[in-house]
């Protein structure tokens, strides 16, 4: 092995390790940034290594490509608002898949004109362009729907699934054929065309709300295409990065579909979006945002100040001990926990006091309404545990409400509001609560005791 080759291999090996280490760092929010810097370093190494590759003869075009890419990539990275994240990720899948597809086509074009394409090589190349091209159009559709330049609603027609499956079967058939007869250029390009259609049609029937699952799946496809590139050109770092990507995208799409109560088959075979959407919508047409215990735990674990607002639901669930446990965990991590006791929380005067005292929560953590209300502004999280009427903003704003004029806890002034209750049922006063539809509010549904137990474990394991 000559020194140059050695250098290339060393950079690749190092890059592979750095990628893995970098992704691993994402398991811990406080180490994630450092880890991603390591991954970026790995990327730099891999690029440098490749530039030293013996096959590379001229650099002028490469520089053009790099400059153009950087010019587009920098603003995409720095200035796209966080709210536009989904479409941002979707479009980057487009770029990734495009790169993989083009490399595949170039390779095929070169080989078919030169030494000819081997069967194994054809398998890799075919896989690469097949997944690459359907990801290109799929990502394009997803971006369009999310960004709004394509209609966001699902576009459906009878027999859609059959058509999609058929198209996919045709593409696969062509791929199989090519493996046996690699030289059939017409088949190759037709396959690309069909794959484009598959991508388009696959995403067409899917509504905006289900897009994250699709994006994740496309992530996985793009990763597989990269890995196939690696097989085609015999490059390990591509294989490894592609496999990481593929696994991650696949897993994420499963996790997300689970979170949306869809079966995995439903996700894989693209029949998303067809059943009526089940996301919570209130009578007033506002959406409710449900959240997982893990996410709540992360918010609490990294919050500087948390205000707990207990209500009758905490009493019903007899969750007072779990409340204390959670608070202890948060405090152990350096957060501060206060309890906001509304005068009429619960069902008897002092109901919350009785329970919190039972759980041995020190009196000096309890704040009554007048003391705590000015402090919500500075709270990172208001954790509402089975309270409802006492945090209902209708009391402030809705003259028609039966509780209009009752002073309430201003939880909606906190940075985030998390509400633990079992359902969307109203409380004692029997009225709806707009707080639950506030964009700042996330609902963790379930019995308060069970939810809190989960939160305790999750915060502990952060």
């Amino acid at each position: 092995m000559n020194p140059r080759e050695l250098f290339v291999q060393v950079t690749y090996l190092t890059a592979s390790v750095l990628f893995i280490v970098g992704l691993r760092s994402l398991t811990r929010p406080d180490q994630a940034r450092r880890g991603m810097n390591q991954a970026a370093l790995g990327m730099l190494l891999a690029i440098c290594g490749t530039l030293a590759h013996h096959e590379i003869l001229r650099y002028d075009w490469i520089i053009v490509g790099l400059v153009v890419g950087t010019a587009i990539g920098y603003p995409l990275g720095m200035f796209v608002p966080m709210t536009a994240m989904p479409q941002r990720i979707a479009i980057s899948h487009l770029f990734g898949a495009l790169a993989a597809t083009l490399v595949g086509v170039a390779e095929y074009y070169t080989l078919v004109r030169g030494p000819g394409v081997g069967h194994a090589e054809m398998a890799a190349l075919g896989f690469e362009v097949l997944f690459g091209s359907l990801t290109i159009t799929g990502s394009f559709m997803a971006t369009g729907k999310l960004q709004g330049f394509l209609p966001g609603r699902p576009i459906t027609y009878p027999g859609q699934n059959a058509v999609n499956l058929l198209l996919f079967a045709v593409a696969l058939g062509l791929f199989g054929y090519l493996i046996f007869v690699p030289g059939q250029q017409a088949a190759f390009y037709t396959m690309i065309g069909v794959a484009f259609c598959v991508g388009l049609f696959m995403v067409m029937p899917i509504g905006g709300a289900d897009m994250p699952v699709v994006i994740s799946l496309l992530n996985s496809y793009a990763g597989l295409a990269s890995a196939a590139t690696g097989f085609a050109i015999g490059n390990n770092v591509l294989i490894i990065a592609g496999a990481l990507d593929g696994a991650s995208g696949f897993l994420l799409s499963i996790l997300m579909s689970k979170a949306m109560n869809r079966s995995f088959a439903n996700v894989l075979f693209g029949a998303f979006g067809t059943p009526a959407t089940s996301s919570g919508r209130s009578s007033v047409g506002l959406a409710v945002r449900s959240i997982t215990a893990e996410d709540v735990a992360l918010q609490l674990g990294y919050a500087g100040s948390v205000i707990v607002v207990p209500g009758y639901g905490m009493a019903v669930a007899q969750a007072q001990h779990q409340v204390r446990e959670l608070a202890e965990q948060i405090e152990k991590r350096g957060g501060e926990v206060k309890y906001a006791i509304h005068p009429v929380a619960g069902r008897m005067p002092g109901h919350m006091n009785v329970l919190l005292a039972e759980a041995n929560i020190p009196y000096d953590r309890l704040y009554d309404m007048d003391e705590i209300n000015p402090q919500f502004d500075q709270a990172d999280v208001a954790l509402v545990i089975g309270a409802n009427d006492v945090v209902n903003p209708a009391a402030r704003s809705d003259r028609a409400s039966p509780i209009y004029g009752m002073p309430i806890l201003n939880v909606d002034r906190a940075r985030h509001v998390i509400v633990l209750k079992r359902s969307m049922s109203p409380g004692f006063a029997g009225i709806e609560n707009e707080l639950f539809y506030d964009p700042k509010t996330s609902m963790l549904f379930g019995d308060a005791k069970a939810s809190l137990s989960r939160l305790v474990s999750e915060v502990k394991s952060l």
């Binding site: 994402l26 970026a40 096959e55 490509g65 980057s92 990734g96 994006i215 890995a227 490894i240 994420l252």
Partner: protein, 103 residues
């Protein structure tokens, strides 16, 4: 002794396994940064593109390669930058205790 293709299959499987193990331990709130991180890493297809663009094999290959290089670079640059922006948000805020306590 098996062919390189077979060994590469091992590499692929093992890497997938590593990916699986790592990703299952990423907490859901970091799923978005994770997506953009894997996206940035998938910019590694730049490596293949560079060869296509620079090997000077034929015009088609070079042109396709240059486009590929540009696309992949977008992902690398944009992906890492945005991941970093997102992860910045997970810093702890250590703020002073406001207000009085009841006794």
């Amino acid at each position: 002794m098996p062919s390189t293709g077979i060994i590469e299959l091992y590499v692929f499987l093992l890497a997938g396994f590593v990916g699986y193990q790592v990703i299952t331990r990423v907490p859901p709130l970091l799923h978005t940064p994770l997506m953009s991180a894997t996206n940035a890493i998938s910019g590694i297809s730049l490596v293949g593109s560079l060869v296509a663009a620079g090997a000077d094999r034929n015009m088609v290959s070079t042109i396709l390669g240059v486009i590929a290089v540009a696309s992949a670079t977008i992902n690398v640059v944009g992906g890492f930058l945005i991941t970093d922006r997102m992860l910045k948000m997970f810093k702890r805020h250590d703020q002073p205790d406001p207000g009085p306590k009841v006794g």
